[in-house]
Structures are given as C-alpha cells and as structure tokens.
C-alpha cells in the first residue's frame, strides 16, 4: 500500500489530507463572547470558515411581543449591551413615530448627545479589545480609562452604567442633573487629546501596520452586497450613514463629517472609527453649546397603543444600521418586533474576509468587525 500512495491518490485528496478543522471558541478570549468559528485550515491558512452562533439566544423578539411597549425598552439594552443608548433610541423613536408623538427639542438634543457619547464609549471598547487582540496592551488601559468617564456620565443621568434603560417613550425619565453639562464639557475638551494619544500608539506603529494593512480587504461593491453597514461599510469608501441619509432625532441640526476609508482593509476601518470618535465629539460640543431649554416629556398617551400598522425605523448605531420593524395590531403590546442587528449581518462577511489569511489574522478580522454576541444571538 504505502509504496504507491502518491500515485493512487489524486492531488485533491492529498490536499484534503493536509486540511485540519479546528474550533475557535465558543470560549476563546478574542471572539468577544460566545462565538464559535469552525476553521478549515491548510497549514496556517484559512480555507473555509463556518460561524456557529446562538449560544446567547434569549428570544428577545419573542419576549417583547408579550410585554407592553414601554416594558420592552430594557430588553433592548441587552441586545448590544455595550451600546444600550443607541438600542433604546431606535426602539423608542420607532414607537414614537407610530404614535405620532413629537418629542420636545431638549429631549432630542439630550438623546443625540448621549447617543454620541455611547458611540465613543463603544468605539473605545472596540479599540481597546481590538488592540489587545493584536497585542497592544497599553491602548486597552487608556481606552478603558476614558470609557469609564462616559460610564460615569451615564450613571449620573440614567442611574446605571451598562444596561441603562436610557430613554422612555415620549421623553426622558429625568432632566439633566445639576452640573451635568459641565462634566460633559470637561470630557469633551479632553477626549481629543486622548484620541491623539491612541493614534500616537497605533497609527504609525510598525507592528500595527503589519497586522492590519491589507488584512480582511473588502471592496465597496462586495460590502454592499453583503449588507454591511456602519464603519465596516464606510471603511470600503461607501458613503452611507443613517444619520445623514435619513436624519433622525436632532442630527439634521449639526455639522459633522462622515469619514470614509479607501482600501477597505482592517487599517482603514480602524482609521474610520478613530475619526468617527472625533466627529461624535464635534456633535457633542454642538449639543452642549446649543442645548435648548424646555420640557423633557412629550404628551404621550398614558397607555401606549400605536394604531394598526407597521413601521421600520433605523438609527446609526456604533456598529452599523440598527433597525426596528414594529408591527402593531392596535394592542398594548407589539404584534411583532424585529431588530435588524448590524453585527449579525456584519459577521456574515467573516467567511469572505478571512479566506486565505492566517489564523492570527482571523483574530484581527473578528476584532475589526466589532461584533457583540448579545446582538448577534438576541
């Protein structure tokens, strides 16, 4: 048998003999949660991947079908649990649109400001963990230092740090505490320098460049075809941001730019997110200086019963287009709530992005997609 082994087996089978299937996760530090990726490897090169998800599936969509509209809000804190404010905003605004409730300008400004704080916090968490995955420990500590300040602001305004039930249908539960805007201004004045600090550590760092440039390249057309949204899409140079395309809340009032990448690689996505933090800070500064006075609640009905109908409302979450599709049958609880989860859809691109790369790059690419398993599994 052994003497003619190469004669008898065709080339394909020889290749197959070299293929190894390994599991990455669900308990793996750089999968950012309970993601399991089944990698088919040829040596260290990735030939194919299959994502196995659902370990964190809690049936959020089913649960909120059985709860009153207002009681659904806290469940969305727990989908993308590092960006609860954005999740709340999308749902709350969708219900308000169906009810025909127009919230006062002060509410809109506060909501916009807090959502932008959330975007910075989420990007900081992404930056810290992404850099840590690739081996830059310091950035992680710095990023968490600033994120902590944002969480303190959340605690002052919302009473909690992570799953915060930020907004109510029709307004806010309380007005800004005394001295809150000053605290925001203090943060806003310093974050720019801190972002320069992170950039000083990474942007021209030789190791960082080697690990991120030309890794996980995706063209603009493929990115749209794969339904990517958020910084992942803009890293490929597609100018699509819900804040500009369909302005919601108070975004139409502010000046800000949408940073775009060129190459669609991990490095460009990193630059896009860094610049997004600066732009978010611009929005926050405009919010602080132009914060209107007035009531913090609209005249929303006491019992929330949107009319029979359906509405799709999307917001630009930190990770992409976060949509809510609500079908109402005129009852006190929604007939159907569908979350359009940006990271679930972005994760689908992993298969395409990692093909042909090394195992070590899989870690970088999972990081650049900025996934949160709470939202993927819902």
């Amino acid at each position: 048998m052994e003497h003619d082994i190469f004669g008898a087996i065709d080339e394909k089978t020889v290749l197959d003999a070299n293929q190894v299937v390994i599991n990455m996760g669900p308990q793996h530090p750089s999968t950012h949660g309970v993601l399991r990726v089944k990698l088919t490897l040829d040596g260290e090169r990735v030939i194919d991947t299959d994502c196995i998800i659902g370990y964190l599936h809690r049936g959020t969509e089913k649960i909120v079908e059985n709860r009153p509209y207002a009681a659904g809000v806290p469940y969305f804190d727990r989908t993308d649990y590092v960006a609860a404010v954005s999740n709340n905003l999308g749902y709350v605004e969708c219900v308000e649109k169906m009810l025909g409730v127009e919230v006062p300008p002060r509410v809109q400004y506060i909501r916009t400001m807090m959502t932008e704080f959330q975007r910075i916090a989420s990007h900081l968490l992404w930056l810290g963990t992404h850099a840590l995955d690739i081996g830059a420990m310091t950035v992680f500590l710095y990023a968490f230092r600033e994120r902590e300040e944002i969480l303190k602001l959340f605690e002052a305004l919302f009473g909690a740090r992570l799953t915060i039930h930020a907004f109510r249908i029709g307004g806010l539960w309380q007005d800004l505490p005394v001295g809150f805007l000053d605290a925001c201004r203090r943060f806003s004045d310093t974050i720019g320098e801190h972002i320069n600090e992170y950039e000083g550590l990474l942007t021209n760092n030789r190791i960082w460049l080697e690990r991120t440039r030309d890794i996980g390249v995706i063209s603009a057309q493929d990115a749209i075809d794969l339904g990517l949204t958020g910084p992942v899409l803009r890293g490929s140079g597609v100018n699509y941001d819900v804040r500009k395309a369909r302005p919601y809340s108070a975004y139409a009032d502010f000046d800000f730019d949408i940073p775009l990448g060129v190459h669609g690689d991990t490095y460009d996505r990193y630059l896009v997110r860094i610049e997004e933090m600066r732009q978010s800070n611009r929005i926050i500064q405009q919010c602080i200086t132009r914060m209107p006075t007035g009531p913090i609640r609209a005249k929303a009905p006491r019992v929330i019963k949107p009319p029979v109908g359906e509405y799709y409302h999307s917001v630009e979450g930190p990770k992409g287009e976060l949509g809510y599709y609500i079908v109402s049958e005129g009852k006190t609880s929604p007939y159907r709530v569908r979350i359009r989860p940006p990271t679930f859809i972005n994760l689908q691109a992993l298969k395409k992005l990692v093909k042909g790369h090394l195992v070590a790059d899989v870690v970088a690419i999972i990081g650049t997609l900025d996934i949160v398993l709470g939202e993927i599994d819902r």
Partner: protein, 251 residues
C-alpha cells in the same frame, strides 16, 4: 425593578396632566403595568383582542372595569390623527414594476410615508433581481428579511424584505403572503446578505426558501423541534426533549 421604575414614572407624570378627571383613575393605571406576565395585555380588553391567547381567569379577577375608561381616555384628547394605509398605485416605482412584471404588485400602499408593496411570491426572485439592477430602481442594499405570522389568515406568513438604495436614498418594503406549506424563492443569488437573514427566518418561522445554498438553523440548535416566533409557539414553550437529551435537565 423596571416595572417599579415604570410605575414611579407613571406616578411622577400624574401631576403634570391636568385633565385627569379624578385622582382615582390614574392611580388604577399602574395596576395594568404591575401585571408583568402580560401576554395579559389582553385582559384589559377581552372583547376586542380575538387573537390573543385566552386568559379568561385573569380578566375575571382583575376587575377590568376601572382601567378601561382610563385606557380609552388618551386617544380622545390626543389631537394626532390615526395614520392609515394610503394607496400609492400611481407611484412611478409601482408603474415601473408593473411595466416589467404585469400583475406582480398585488397592492401598493404607504404607511406613515413608508412605501409597502405586496407582491406575488412567485415573482420574488426575478423582481428583486430587477429592483437591484434596474438603474431607475437601484435597490443595492437589502437591509432586512424577516417574517410576520398571522395564524388566523389563510396565507399565514408575511415575508418582509426591506430594501434601500444607497445612491438614490430611498427605501421600499416588499411583502409577500404565503401559506404555511408554501415555499418562497431565496434571494441569496441577488444579495449575499440574504443568506443568514433567510436562515434566521427559516429557524424562527419554518419558512422554506427554495434555492438557498445552505438552509440550516442559525440561532437554535440543529435538532431543535419547533419554530419559536410562530404565534402558536408559546413564550414559555421549549423543546423539552432536546433539553433532556443535551442538558439532562428535566422539568
């Protein structure tokens, strides 16, 4: 905790609304909230909610009379008119589609300014291909695929496609009604993003997408029985056999 917050929020609100006829009625209001179990949102209006799960005992003991007037009060004072579905069959997009696919659009409506086209499920695939590639339509981004279950209807499932054109910055929603055993063509060949989205719809509703390259469950385990987002799948229901087999947990 959250219920409590809601309650206190309700109570906080009370003084602000001057129209409240007597302090008693609003005070009863939180009671409705306090019952969290709440498929029970039904009990307040047992007469109207035909579709809800039957919970007659709750309705009986809850003294449903007082909350009722309170519940019906707000619409009276709210000046907002109730939005309805408007006919948009004259819309240029609709006529453009009708030109290519006569009879494909079964209904063209808008609700709160969002365009909704109900289309024939048989033409979903060619229609989507047209909508994506036609320069006048150019719906290049498929935002979402999902479904809604209406078990009392003959065609119980509505498959919903949310389309967006990045260049033209417009959105449209396609809906097709299908019966329980009907299949609908997969649009994965048009937009790759549909792959996982359709898998999720299959997982949650049991709708089969013909021509899908890899139609497996995605969030639930492969050998799970049942499709949880169907309306006849109770919120507390689980696949007991699966749990017993894999986790050795017996109820």
């Amino acid at each position: 905790m959250d219920e409590e917050k809601e309650k206190s929020k309700e109570q906080e609100k009370k003084p602000t609304s001057e129209e409240a006829p007597s302090p008693e009625k609003p005070k009863k209001q939180p009671k409705v909230w306090a019952k969290p179990g709440a498929p029970a949102a039904g009990p307040a209006r047992p007469g109207v909610g035909g579709a809800g799960e039957s919970k007659p005992p709750a309705a009986a003991q809850a003294s449903p009379a007082p909350p009722k007037p309170a519940a019906s009060a707000p619409p009276r004072k709210s000046p907002v008119e109730t939005p309805t579905y408007l006919d948009i069959s004259q819309d240029p997009l609709v006529s453009r589609i009708q030109e290519k696919f006569p009879g494909a659009v079964l209904a063209a409506q808008s609700f709160l300014g969002q365009k909704i086209l109900t289309v024939d499920p048989l033409v979903v695939l060619p229609l989507c291909d047209f909508l994506k590639h036609d320069p006048e339509c150019n719906f290049d981004l498929l935002e979402d695929v999902t479904a809604v279950d209406f078990p009392e209807r003959d065609k119980r499932f509505v498959v919903v496609y949310q389309l967006c054109s990045i260049r033209r910055n417009v959105q449209v929603r396609l809906k097709c009604n299908i019966a329980e055993n009907d299949k609908v063509a997969s649009v994965t060949s048009v937009w790759s993003v549909a792959n996982w989205l359709e898998r999720e719809v299959y997982d949650m509703f049991g709708i089969i997408f013909l021509g899908h390259p890899d139609l497996r469950r995605i969030l639930l385990p492969e050998d799970w029985v049942g499709h949880p987002l169907r309306k006849d799948y109770d919120v507390h229901k689980q696949d007991e056999d699966w749990i017993q087999r894999h986790l050795q947990i017996r109820k």
